[in-house]
């Protein structure tokens, strides 16, 4: 049927869809396990794997020189995590203080975390080393469908002029989907305001470019409302505080927490997270043991509602406790220019002078109506997976179904449940699979854990040989000397 339609078809045993960090990390594993580039393709609409990640980090106030929130030994460019980023930066910058910090984290110091620039530079080096661009096919994936006889068809729209036809098709035994976040979701009241007034300049999401906010505040004193209590809110706050200091600004900040955390919280003494001043504190996106400790081991055994319950227990918005941020917030509170409040926002409207009024209702019944020049939504809500056409199609026609928290249900080895076809397998990793047997999916180390499970499963199916200690060590030396895999 495909041939009769005149659509060109290419055979490729392993195809990964997405071309961001998830695809990259998976290809990196498979290349190091020993799969040649001729056996794999990545279909993507971006040019290099860290492009979207860098865009989002830059918008949310982490330019290359700033540090991301990630563990030193979570290296997407180095599956062994050794030497860690801390060792590398300490060596290159001749800074013993980094070693002291990594030794004493998180007890005497904040967690040591790498600069965004360090991560991107190393990704570029590794992408070259594994010949990433030999595998890249530019295009937009429309759908992945099971084919009669096993394996899958992936329908791709190539960029204008890149191919003779409007569509091309890949026929593969294995497909991997890592298309990242299906999309951003705004807080409902802010979405309503934006749609009603067509104002995309004053009510912004922290993940979209919003430099105009900071530029405006440099020209005259203004007030900003921040919504959300996570890492992005911390980042945006830091930027506002830094600008105040650097440029002598008069910015006033009203920070609205829906859930205001005033101290340690949790059901019992063995499940208590630190918090205060509105925030819940945690070093990384998840408690550390999800990447290999007892939380990982526990979750692996849970099904259905029990799993959903466990997710709820360890979930909740949080941010790291960083000494610098604490200082800035303390100064802001005592200086009367940083006002953290608890509340839910009923609606946002224009004031008479054209500014923004938020109608905030606190749990104690008090209603506040702060007026601001800008509102920055830092809640980082994610859209439903069905917002993305590939997932929508898989849920409708591909046999896939949702997990207990509403995303894509995958096996322990990240095969999408219900989509097996003959000797083929369909895998997914990243944010879309949150709620599975492994929780930390949308993190660097989580993507590597997924990639390892996938690579080992592929080894079980005879696609590649499982990597043992000897190959691993020799491949590590190749990584260290930057020689080809």
């Amino acid at each position: 049927m495909v041939a009769a339609a005149g659509i060109p078809m290419y055979d490729i045993p392993f195809l990964t869809v997405g071309g961001g960090m998830g695809s990259f990390v998976t290809l990196d594993y498979l290349r190091i396990y020993g799969v040649p580039t001729s056996q794999m393709r990545v279909v993507s609409n971006i040019d290099h794997p860290w492009q979207t990640y860098e865009f989002l980090t830059r918008c949310s106030q982490i330019p290359r020189g700033e540090r991301i929130r990630s563990d030193s030994s979570s290296r997407p460019d180095n599956l062994w995590g050794f030497p860690s980023y801390a060792l590398e930066e300490a060596w290159k910058e001749k800074k013993l203080s980094y070693l002291w910090q990594i030794l004493t984290e998180p007890l005497l110091n904040d967690y040591w975390t790498p600069r965004a620039g360090t991560v991107f530079k190393n990704l570029e080096r590794e992408a070259k080393r594994i010949n990433y661009w030999d595998m890249l096919v530019k295009g937009q994936v429309r759908m992945v469908r099971r084919r009669a006889g096993g394996g899958y068809f992936t329908v791709v729209t190539p960029p204008d002029g890149a191919a003779a036809t409007k569509r091309i098709i890949f026929r593969s035994r294995f497909v991997h989907i890592a298309i990242g976040y299906p999309g951003l979701k705004f807080l409902p009241d802010l979405q309503e305001f934006r749609t009603k007034h067509g104002d995309y300049q004053h009510v912004v999401n922290a993940y979209e470019p919003h430099e105009q906010v900071y530029e405006f505040l440099k020209t005259r004193p203004g007030t900003v409302v921040i919504r959300g209590g996570g890492i992005v809110a911390s980042r945006v706050l830091q930027r506002l505080f830094d600008d105040r200091e650097r440029h002598g600004l008069q910015t006033q900040i009203i920070h609205i927490f829906r859930t205001f955390v005033s101290g340690s919280h949790g059901p019992h003494i063995w499940a208590r997270r630190k918090g205060g001043d509105g925030w819940a504190y945690q070093g990384f996106n998840y408690p550390k043991s999800v990447w290999g400790g007892q939380l990982k081991a526990q979750m692996r055994k849970l099904e259905g509602t029990e799993r959903a319950k466990k997710y709820k227990e360890m979930g909740g918005t949080n941010t790291p406790y960083r000494r610098r941020w604490q200082e800035q917030m303390r100064a802001g509170r005592s200086g009367g220019y940083y006002h953290p409040v608890q509340g839910t926002v009923d609606r946002v409207e224009h004031s008479q002078d054209g500014r923004l009024v938020s109608y905030v209702r606190s749990s104690d019944g008090i209603v506040r109506e702060p007026v601001s020049d800008y509102i920055i939504d830092c809640t980082g809500l994610e859209a439903d997976i069905a917002e993305h056409r590939i997932f929508a199609d898989l849920l409708q026609h591909g046999g896939a179904f949702r997990n207990p928290v509403g995303r894509l249900e995958v096996e322990r080895h990240f095969e999408v449940k219900g989509t097996a076809n003959g000797d083929g397998a369909l895998y997914a990793s990243g944010s879309a699979t949150l709620g599975g047997y492994f929780p930390g999916v949308d993190t660097f180390l989580g993507l590597q854990i997924a990639a390892q499970e996938i690579a080992d499963d592929l080894a079980g199916r005879g696609f590649v040989k499982k990597m043992g200690p000897l190959r691993s060590t020799s491949q590590w030396f190749k990584w260290a000397f930057n020689s080809s895999v």
């Binding site: 050794f82 984290e105 005497l108 949790g266 550390k288 081991a297 200690p469 691993s472």
Partner: protein, 145 residues
Amino acid sequence: MVPTLWGRIQTRLFMLATVGAIITLLIVPVLPGSSGPLSERYVNGFLVLAAVGVLGIIWELIYHFLMQFRWEKDWPTLFGLLTLVPEGLVLYFLLRSGAVDVIDPVPPAAFWTHFTVVWVCIWLVTNGPMRVPFIRWRFRGGRVL
């Protein structure tokens, strides 16, 4: 590596049997203050290593219990280094008191040099190089098997 209980115990025994054994082989002839035939000193050195392993299982149970009070259920790098103090002291006094009579009394300088060097080497290997040959180890809470 963030350990599980079974992972802790396995990692300890594996490390003592590999890194610990190699360091013991190298260091015993030059330990300060020790005397007697080399073969006896080697037997003693390896018995000390074995004692660290056996007692260590009890220690790991204690560490695992203490770890439950931490929200992250993690075990900071520094803890892994500093626990050498209580573990060393308890073993040292057990040996001095003659409670473990299969091991001859060890001169203090020899015991502490041997114990500390082995401990620090194991700690260093556990915090990095171990991940090079064993890529699944850190994702399994330290289980080797």
